[in-house]
Symmetry: C2
Amino acid sequence: MTTNSSGDDAYARAGVNIDAGNLAVQKYRDVTSGWTHPDQLGSLGNFSGLFRLPGDATRALVGSADGVGTKILIAAAVKRYDTVGADLVNHCVNDILVTGAEPLFFLDYLAVGKLDPHVASLIVAGVHRACRENHCALLGGETAEMPGVYRPDHFDLAGTIVGMVELAAIPDPNRVQPGDAIVGLPAVGLHTNGYTLARALIPEDEYGAPFGMGTFADALLAPHPSYLQQVRAMRAVADVKSMAHITGGGLLENVPRTLPDHAAAVFEQTRWDVPPIMAELVRRGNLQHEECYRTLNMGVGYTLVIPITDVDAALAAAPGARVIGFVQPRRDGEPRVVVHPARTA
Amino acid sequence: MTTNSSGDDAYARAGVNIDAGNLAVQKYRDVTSGWTHPDQLGSLGNFSGLFRLPGDATRALVGSADGVGTKILIAAAVKRYDTVGADLVNHCVNDILVTGAEPLFFLDYLAVGKLDPHVASLIVAGVHRACRENHCALLGGETAEMPGVYRPDHFDLAGTIVGMVELAAIPDPNRVQPGDAIVGLPAVGLHTNGYTLARALIPEDEYGAPFGMGTFADALLAPHPSYLQQVRAMRAVADVKSMAHITGGGLLENVPRTLPDHAAAVFEQTRWDVPPIMAELVRRGNLQHEECYRTLNMGVGYTLVIPITDVDAALAAAPGARVIGFVQPRRDGEPRVVVHPARTA
């Protein structure tokens, strides 16, 4: 059970409250603690939930639910409806990928203030296209017309993915050791996190203005990529010990879930590029180092912990992958994640 | 792929457009027709989607996504947050139940304008309670704080259920024959359909007014029941040939999906009770016969087609079940469903 309100001071100023999010997760644990289904594996608060496949000792089903978040408000503002489906599906694919699962099927939930069949079909076509690219069935979905909840020109898009994993193939963070490399896969932009902040810093009347090779809208709506092919290729040639999908909470909150207590991740930001749209947000918001790495992915979409001996093979298997940090010993009270900035503040 | 905008003239007057809904479903078929996953069984437009379980010749996974709809606006107005979870989960349980599936796990999506951890935990507690009652794991979920999409006091709640079915246990509407009985399970109220109409006919300032044994809010928020136990009990003793969950579209649109082309369902409304809240809506809206049975469940929550020889055993197994109609021969051009009113109009 996750909340999408991770962030910090800058995020809170933009209207998203991280303390409320953490408190909600704590309360969810309380209200659900009285009963857990006996076939449920793992706990709330991870990227995905695992469920023992009935009558099968070797496999588990993996499920994850997510939404596109307020990125949809930018899509609605510029009437670009064909990319949010990829945001949603690829986010979900990556969330179950960290367990080692391959996608089976997906279901979407589209809620609108006023149903425009053409717009709705553009959105669903994008969902279907992304499902196909991930060889994942679009098994069904629900479109709800809800006047009074959504503005006529607004919508919300959420979905659930189900995948399957061999129990023996589930990565185990406890195998991670100091000296292991952390390989990163590049982010193309904000993906699906940080948009409430981005919308506060880039007003709607600038969406059409030139930025980089296109407009601000182009940069802000760059679709969340699927890392399925790259991760599959690396796992075929390297011992991948644990993985993280860098979503809300950034490197600082997502990477610790992939490490044992006695290990810390130390990243060197000189080793990768921060996308221009992210640098622009940092500049406009005067975001401090910690704020950046807790609110935004800062250019890293996915991380894999790999023993140093397997790194060359892994990098050769996945174009774009690079070593961005290392696992180091950690003592009690020390930070779980350190990001060395490219330049001093 | 279903849309929740089923209804008719009265519904359209209330702001939900059935033509747009049907057109959207048609367009979804068009945009998704280019590719279907090879393990996907059945087609879009049914209650649930079926997916062949990899490496297992005898079983399928069944998935269904749904939302609570504008019933949440009534819950938000009277600040009653503990029942919408049951609405959502039980709706989903019933949707996959028509395929014969038993639930495995559920994931929820909660979107809010401003995250109040207490309110969110009441909602999630209701989801968890309903999951437990259906012996269904609450495998995960997402809570999204989306200022600008939702009003601070508004929320939306949707979810996805996954179940499993033996392929041999999937009901087959083609086995239905004239002379079979149609057994109905009683609805306790509107369940999760017709709320945009209900909200147009019963203004918010009346929610606290006395109605029946309680208030209008009590009647309007009566939780959608799960029919899992009753259906399981009937299937254990009777040959259940096909089943329908009576949701948006009412008896007129949901029952045809459970019949072969040469058969019609003929219901006698003297055989069941219309809940008082439904009668009140009919009176206030001056709803015509066809409008009622296409927009509201009119007191029937679930239907099962059972050979006449098995009816006594089925009724004995499920308290509340009763015979509400029969299957009759149908010629081309004749209606698929006829409801004989309790009294002449």
